[in-house]
Amino acid sequence: MKIKLKVNGENKVFDVKADEYLLDTLRKNNYVSVRRGCDNTSCGVCTVLINGNPAASCSYLSCKADGKEITTVEGIPEEAAKIAGFFGREGADQCGFCNPSMALTVYAMKKELVNPTDDDIRSYLVGNLCRCSGYQGQHRAIKAYLEVE
């Protein structure tokens, strides 16, 4: 079936199967920043923004996304570059596999929460797993980003 999506501000039409997930649709169409880390919605690596809200694209049926606005990290280059700067300063990016999903979720959090506490930040991002960083550098970087921005 054909679905219409607005991906990173561009109107797109994709041909998808009824049981196809958004993650696969996006990767197939070269949005390779969206990645798979697990089989059952538990790692957060595949996060995209759907109408501005973070969602796991691995368990979101593409047909359900028809008519919606999808943002991948390619759609927020300025914010991603800024966040990358803070991550870089804290040595918070290691393998980088989780990075695009982190940038998107942090970006969404900044819009949603006003002056989040340490615990608010941890709760908001709890579904975004990272096996490399031990989370500390990320936490320092996110706080610095929120302070400056």
């Binding site: 880390g37 991550f87 393998c95 980088g96 596999f97 096996r131 500390q136």
Partner: protein
């Protein structure tokens, strides 16, 4: 004064990856790749009587079906190690036996995932289901023999006795342990168990293959060992190594889990046979069930000491479970001794030995710490037990008995990795500082041993010291090539394997330091078996020290070449000519690097400047650390919360302090995970229950509240600009430090990992009953 070493610089790839640039293996697969899927064994142990692949082959869209009948029987090891490997050659690309749930039965290559999956369902396999060996304590000399194939073999003596289910065995001793134990005032004897741990790197194992325009097989692989991968694939498929190119793109984490080949052999076979590009992306379930995890171990450890708190004897017997195949069996086992027991170098005697046995479980392999985390847990827990018995302070006991700068341990000479070791003296060992500083950071004086918080909660602090290594001396080789380009910038080509730890970044810094040019002027490419020089890969904490030394040597050479060419251009003697990173000068004559480069490539005395060098360690200077944990134990539920963890590390110079800190923090959290949360659990029939990220829980950012990581001031002259390695040391101390803290809080000694509320409650009840009886 160092300019670009010990210098904060963001990693060279972090920003690009954050912005979503393609870089990982699957981003670089050919669009029309055949999808390779593997049929995996539902049985822990079975013989394949027959496979009917006709229906699968007939399915529209299926290109190829491979079974064991399609391969010549060539045993290899999937472990990416030096060659000849210290691991038994006990694995075939496909075999007519399956030895664990998830083992490979057959492979299908089809035009898309759905077709490949459908084809797997159409394969008809007739199994003779065999009785598996699931308990590693019953594996030795069990009547069930897991590896009975005639072709399998060891490459040199490693104690391989497959008929007894033994993949490797080892025994060493220094002094007479029996005698010294008899002379001791106090002897403790304890048994500890460590569990299997899964790596859970975020990027699953991924590989793709294509035939390029020269007819060569090109693999992109998410691997820690591209050069070993090329060698093993060539061996397994009897295909010339000269026709294989292995490219390691960005890798989404490894931690040892990618120090091996997995899909590479099958994907290569598919592409070679079909001539078409193919790819394989492991599902998370496959990563759990069908790659590797950490070797579970049992330690029977005896420590003997005098009343005054002098440690005299260490006697350890270890049983290690390598699962269905023997990858890294011997070497992980040996590191459980060689990178643990030198911590207490003043003892009269040490005995260390035991076996690594096969079972019908997911194979064990390399995992950060590589035996040292298991050994450290046993030793550092046993030390606290001993201190409790002797009524001596555990910190003072360590300060009295631990290794110090300028000292050595006879273990270094006796134990290497699979072979004999190398005698070495600790040129740098700041353990003393690490311990003192760690006490301050955790506020030991005010918190040791415990504080009752009321409301049924008790806090306690505990500590442990740890060591690792920096590469494997006389075995691990790294090399580097530096090329000067017109306009005066450089390429640095290294075999070293950046898997997210940031080695490309820090190796560029080392080159920059030597050349005195800004790191931005050094463009790094790593790990392409056709284009970059050799390196063993990312393991054994070797990159900073071994590959870093190679880079420094090559860069020093390049600097000398620039000086010589500059002198020629300026018509002055080489002596007295200098290069400061921008300009080559002699007295009042000078030429900029840019002008010199352009002259070299376009105008006069034309030639390409290339410097290449390599490095093999003659020793493996250990990084050291002291870890301090503060826990809060809920005596009603047994729940443990980690309140704080302080780690002070001596890894020599930190080339990039931030990246080094990230290594330690990441290692600590994996160690904390192994201590408190992570466990690979099997059903009674040998099926892994924890085969998803829902059932196997790694720490989230909610559990990790406070980590304090600091570095000791330390300069190892044998390392590049004073550096030792730092990749593994962070993981080693949490199991012992946290369980020691739990003991100090509630008097319960955790003898098997992970810590669970149940173990704590049972312990509390036992000690209450004891108390009532008295």
């Amino acid at each position: 004064m160092m300019k670009y070493v010990n210098y904060e610089r963001p990693s060279i790839d972090g920003k690009g990856l954050m912005m979503g640039k393609p870089g990982y293996t699957d981003d670089l697969a050919e669009q029309n790749s055949l999808i390779v899927k593997v049929l995996r064994s539902p049985h822990a142990f079975a013989r394949i009587k027959s496979i009917d692949k006709s229906k699968a082959e007939a399915l529209e869209g299926v290109e190829l079906v491979l079974t064991h009948e399609d391969f010549k029987r060539i045993p290899v090891t999937r472990a990416g190690q030096g060659y000849p490997e210290p691991s038994p050659h006990d694995k075939f690309v496909l075999d007519n036996y399956v030895r664990h749930v998830g083992d490979e039965v057959a492979a299908v290559a089809a035009r898309d995932k759905e077709t490949a999956e459908k084809a797997l369902e159409l394969l008809v396999v007739d199994y003779e289901v065999l009785e598996p060996v699931l308990d590693f304590e019953k594996a030795y000399e069990n009547e069930v023999i897991i590896h009975d194939e005639p072709e399998i073999h060891e490459m040199f003596p490693i104690g391989f006795e497959p008929k007894k289910n033994v993949a490797a065995s080892y025994l060493m001793h220094i002094g007479d342990v029996e005698k010294s134990l008899k002379e001791c005032d106090t002897v403790t004897e304890t048994t500890f168990y460590t569990q299997a741990q899964a790596h859970v790197m975020m990027e699953p194992h991924t590989v793709n293959a294509r035939i390029d325009y020269q007819g060569r097989l090109v693999l992109y692989s998410s691997t820690q060992t591209p050069f070993h991968t090329r060698r093993i694939v060539a061996q397994a498929l009897e295909y010339p190594m000269s026709k294989i190119r292995v490219i390691k793109p960005r890798v989404g984490g490894g931690f040892g889990g990618k120090q091996c080949v997995h899909g590479e052999m099958l994907v290569s076979a598919v592409t070679l046979r079909t001539g078409k590009p193919s790819k394989m992306v492991y599902t998370r379930q496959e990563v759990f069930e069908s790659t590797f995890s950490r070797h579970p171990m049992r330690f029977d450890i005896k420590l003997g000491a005098m009343k005054d708190g002098t440690l005299k004897a260490i006697d350890v017997e270890v049983l290690s479970d390598t699962g269905a195949y023997g990858e890294h069996a011997l070497t992980v086992f040996m590191v459980a001794g060689s990178k643990v027991f030198p911590l207490y170098n003043k003892v009269d005697s040490v005995r260390f030995g035991g076996k690594v046995v096969y079972t019908n479980r997911t194979p064990a392999g390399a995992f950060r710490g590589y035996g040292a985390i298991q050994g450290n847990y046993a030793l550092e827990s046993a030390v606290d037990i001993l201190c409790d018995k002797l009524k001596v302070d555990p910190v003072e006991f360590r300060q009295k008995n631990m290794i110090r700068e300028g000292e050595t341990s006879p273990i270094f000479e006796i134990m290497g990795e699979g072979t004999e070791g190398i005698a070495m003296t600790m040129e740098t060992c700041k353990l003393d500082y690490c311990v003192k500083r760690g006490m301050e950071l955790i506020d030991w004086k005010n918190k040791y041993p415990r504080k009752d918080m009321g409301n049924g909660k008790v806090r306690g602090v505990g500590m442990a010291i740890a060591m690792q290594g920096s590469g494997i001396p006389y075995i691990d080789m790294g090399s580097a090539l530096i090329k000067l380009n017109d306009d005066g910038f450089f390429n640095l080509l290294v075999g070293a394997t950046d898997i997210g730890q940031g080695s490309d970044t820090i190796l560029a810094q080392i080159a920059a330091e030597s050349l005195r040019v800004h790191p931005d002027e050094i463009v790094v490419y790593s790990s392409d078996s056709d284009l970059t020089p050799f390196d063993v890969g990312a393991y054994a904490s070797s990159t900073t020290y071994v590959s870093g030394n190679a880079v420094k040597r090559a860069a020093d050479r390049m600097k000398q070449m620039i000086i010589e060419e500059g002198a020629l251009a300026l018509k002055v003697p080489v002596e007295g000519t200098d290069f400061d990173g921008m300009t080559i000068s002699h007295g009042d004559k000078s030429i900029s690097l840019k002008d010199l480069s352009n002259r070299l490539y376009y105008n006069e005395d034309q030639k390409q400047l290339v410097a290449v060098d390599s490095y093999v360690g003659t020793k493996s200077p250990p990084p050291f650390m002291a870890g301090f944990a503060e826990v809060e134990v809920d005596t009603e539920t047994g729940h443990v919360e980690l309140i704080d963890y302080a780690a002070v590390v001596d890894c020599g110079t930190t080339i990039s302090p931030n990246l080094a800190k990230g290594q330690v923090e990441g290692g600590l959290v994996q160690g904390i995970g192994m201590t408190l949360y992570e466990d690979v659990v099997y059903s009674k029939t040998g099926k892994m229950i924890t085969n998803s990220m829902m059932t196997y829980r790694i720490p989230t950012r909610k559990e990790i509240r406070s980590l304090k990581v600091e570095f000791a001031d330390s300069y190892e002259t044998s390392g590049p600009y004073g550096a030792k390695s730092v990749g593994e040391i962070g993981i080693d101390s949490p199991p012992a430090a946290i369980t020691n803290a739990i003991f100090n809080a509630v008097g319960v000694r955790i003898k098997s990992l992970p810590v669970t509320g149940e173990k704590i409650l049972t312990g509390i009840q036992k000690s209450r009953q004891k108390g009532e009886k008295q």
